[in-house]
Symmetry: C2
Subunit: 590 residues, 2 copies
Amino acid sequence: MSKKDGFYPDWLNKEAAPKGSYREIFKWGSPTEFKVPKRSLYEIMKKMFQMTDDDFKEPKEIGYEKVDFDMPIKLTEKQIASLKEIVGEKNVRTDPYARLSVAYGKTMHDLMRLRKKIIENIPDAVLYPESKEQIEKIVKYITEEKIPLYVYGGGSSVTRGVECMKGGISLDMRLNFNKVIKFNEINQTITVEAGMSGPDLEKHLNNAVEEFGAKMKYTCGHFPQSFEYSSVGGWTVTRGAGQNSTYYGKIEDIVLGQEYATPIGNISTDDYPRKATGPDINHIMMGSEGTFGVLTHVTLRFFKYTADNRVKYSYIFKNWADAQAAAREIMQGEFGMPSVFRVSDPEETELMLRLYGVDEIPFVNPFLKKLGYKSFNIEDSMKGKESDGKCMFLGWSEGEKHFAKNQARQIRKICRSYKAMPLGSIPVDGWEKGRFKDPYLRDSMQDFGIMTDTLECTVNWDNMQHVYETVRAYCKSRPNTVCTTHMSHAYPQGANLYFIFIAKMTELDDYLSYHRGILDHIQQSGAAISHHHGVGKMFAPWLEGFIGTKEIGIFKTLKDYFDKDYLMNPGGTIGLDLKEEEKVFKRPKH
Amino acid sequence: MSKKDGFYPDWLNKEAAPKGSYREIFKWGSPTEFKVPKRSLYEIMKKMFQMTDDDFKEPKEIGYEKVDFDMPIKLTEKQIASLKEIVGEKNVRTDPYARLSVAYGKTMHDLMRLRKKIIENIPDAVLYPESKEQIEKIVKYITEEKIPLYVYGGGSSVTRGVECMKGGISLDMRLNFNKVIKFNEINQTITVEAGMSGPDLEKHLNNAVEEFGAKMKYTCGHFPQSFEYSSVGGWTVTRGAGQNSTYYGKIEDIVLGQEYATPIGNISTDDYPRKATGPDINHIMMGSEGTFGVLTHVTLRFFKYTADNRVKYSYIFKNWADAQAAAREIMQGEFGMPSVFRVSDPEETELMLRLYGVDEIPFVNPFLKKLGYKSFNIEDSMKGKESDGKCMFLGWSEGEKHFAKNQARQIRKICRSYKAMPLGSIPVDGWEKGRFKDPYLRDSMQDFGIMTDTLECTVNWDNMQHVYETVRAYCKSRPNTVCTTHMSHAYPQGANLYFIFIAKMTELDDYLSYHRGILDHIQQSGAAISHHHGVGKMFAPWLEGFIGTKEIGIFKTLKDYFDKDYLMNPGGTIGLDLKEEEKVFKRPKH
């Protein structure tokens, strides 16, 4: 760093965190991968959050200490011995590091607790099962012994979905439960163990020719931002969505068959594409988030690998109203669905243009100015003043070559009718490069007290602007807070609105109260409280107000059938065992 | 009729059946619409079924008699008075005709009973509710009084779904419960009362510009063969499918929101396109077939009307194996889904070519012969000899113009790779013209003792040939029986197989034993026992063997939650109140 450039923080991006440390647990992803704000972003950040170079001199709560705590194990020695008999000696751990490593997910609530060494709700033992049969035995055993059971898939939950509120055991699925059970090229289906990670699944399908003697290369079509550290089981039980879901569908459109080990025995669904034989058990089990049983085997559709046919495009709209209207027109256009479909509001657009190098295309800014396109004034907005501005839409089409080309052509027609300016593929490439990397940036910023978190919801088109304004107004009522929004995962009837909020914030209570406020406003404004993150324990208080009391009674009835002793992911998950006073009824349905 | 042409039956196609007669109830559709076999088909029929002109001289069991029977009404006068208070004097009927008119659906079991005047399982009173509020009051009242309740939508059930096994009351939804509640052009959704008929819904959407001031014309996208006499509510609770479902989806892909009046009160779902807030209540209620409550309001997606962009095509394949392989390739082609997609086996093809005028295209037959395409020998087949032969595929693409064109082009490429011969749009036009009219033909043929019925099932691609062979072998084990099969409602993972069986058969026991045998073979061969007809009371004995004992326990648990006194569509529907000895366990799942 030359003096002329001024101070630039000494980010913790040089080496992996110490072995056995807290940071190893809370840091996102690969131990040796990092992402830090570039100098220009650092300069903006200081202005945005009213921080000075001094704030960036000493990283805080970095968790380099070795995990060490004293929390008694409530399982008896006999119980532990029995569990070892089921999964083998090496597949049971009771040391503090193993216990803490599966206790939390990746919401800011989790990260703050780990940075502050707040140790609560941890399992007594962690098991690493190797097969469906072992899991069935475990569930049978814990049912007899009345031991609470939790499941840890990829660990990327942002709803406290994996947290072991009642102690007991947690099944860490990552290590041993990730094999392909069946590859069926004729039906284009693959059956895998639920602990399989996203990249592993995609690798098997990409390499199907070599691995299974298939005729061609395939893709799973499901790429959430957490892709690299998420699991097929986690996708399924939470009803997740990938960034390409507009074409490939949400996980519930991709999963065809499931098998669960439940306290009353095995529950399995078949894998017919559709049928008319009563209520759909697949849709009863998906969304149960581990409260009915442990998902063991999953059968998923897969797709021809058509990435070579991709057509990428991006457009700048004059304002958010135009961008929303065009998005709806595209979704209702009857020319098939684009794969990536992402429309950013003015605040996000302003940051994205800087992040993805669009600023560096020389002709863009003067041209946009000439067209009367305004920039979003971030500094004004940080002071609470609302600011209009241009909006970026980026996407790509894939599938059969001419299908993709025609789609891109129809989208161009619609964008042009709104006088949107085409920016080509550069911003898309920029976004694609970073699509799985943003969580690394979050850790680097939090080392200096900057909190980043997200909430998302489904809205119908006719209510989108209202939800957007309501939630955003609340977010921005806190000064010096970034709140960017984009629309993704779109449908003919609506879309997902995704809010990212960034602020200088280090206290857990501050975070929780802000997070609650946002969820309140999401619920009150008439959006679905989650499109793909799920409910877990964190959103559960809002669920009954959202779906209705008699409707949540359906979940409780099912719970009583599968797990009358409340041993499966207990402690509030999907609102099943919440006390009345824990519920939020801001928008009671009935 | 000239003498030279020989005898030709005197079909009952001149006038409507007498007012108040049995025939009025069992005859399909409009009282003054008829369809009779043309002379050439009549000649073939005689050969196929080994019948003579004599068999066609006197129509039998034609049901011209006035409905008249004496079945005591079990409701008290006080109860009837209370029901009249809810829906109004004029909307309660207890006369024999009204009671019988909603007792049966349209499976052959129903038609034979009505022709033979077998009166069983009829309601004590028929109500014609006018609003959701009235239905809610009815459900509340019958719950207090423990009166069984049934619902009659369009009456086209082929599963004994509407049959009033326990007497009580039946709600006939056709008369008064068919209004539009809300038209939302922005979200492309419409909310209607559940008794609305298919044509009414389509008319509202086609006329949206005039009726709702909409910007354009829309379509519902859902056209089952029973379209003209089916209801939105019936589609929804049975998980029906339309003939264009390959593009528009099954009803569960179209319905977004539902409201039910249940014994525990109202249950309603929202209408977000997707969400992640626990198990999907829409999918719990769809398929419940009236056993959890009465469906009142339904919110459905609708679609741009793109019929003007239709591209129609048909091809003849050398054999069934080629046709299946090409169908799968099309479904997995990633160029969007065709709207109509129908592939007929050799036996059906042979009949269709005659029915749809393809025989009259002069060059076709010689050309096919030159290519080595065999004809299916129906006469041999009727004697039980299996026969290979050419297969017809017909379909159309719609949606945005270039999307549809490209799809047709890709389909042509695939068909050509199998050396299929293109036949253009003539057979498609022929099929389209008759698509809702075949049930009329069924009545005409039954007047002379010829029974026509259908069964259908979902198969995955890798099991299609096995299911086809197994079911067909059983069907053809009965001599002189037509069994035609087509594949429709296709998906990347499989398709619906639809079996039509036609035979000289007038005895109820013969029919029931044959029908059971076919269902046995569907279940044993590994197909889903229904793709879109539902389960009702007729398929219920096979359900537990198909989905599993613990899985059917899920349905029972839900039933106990909604309707612990078993008042809603009781008597076996979806297997909820079957005795052990009534169940068929041919292929027990666990």
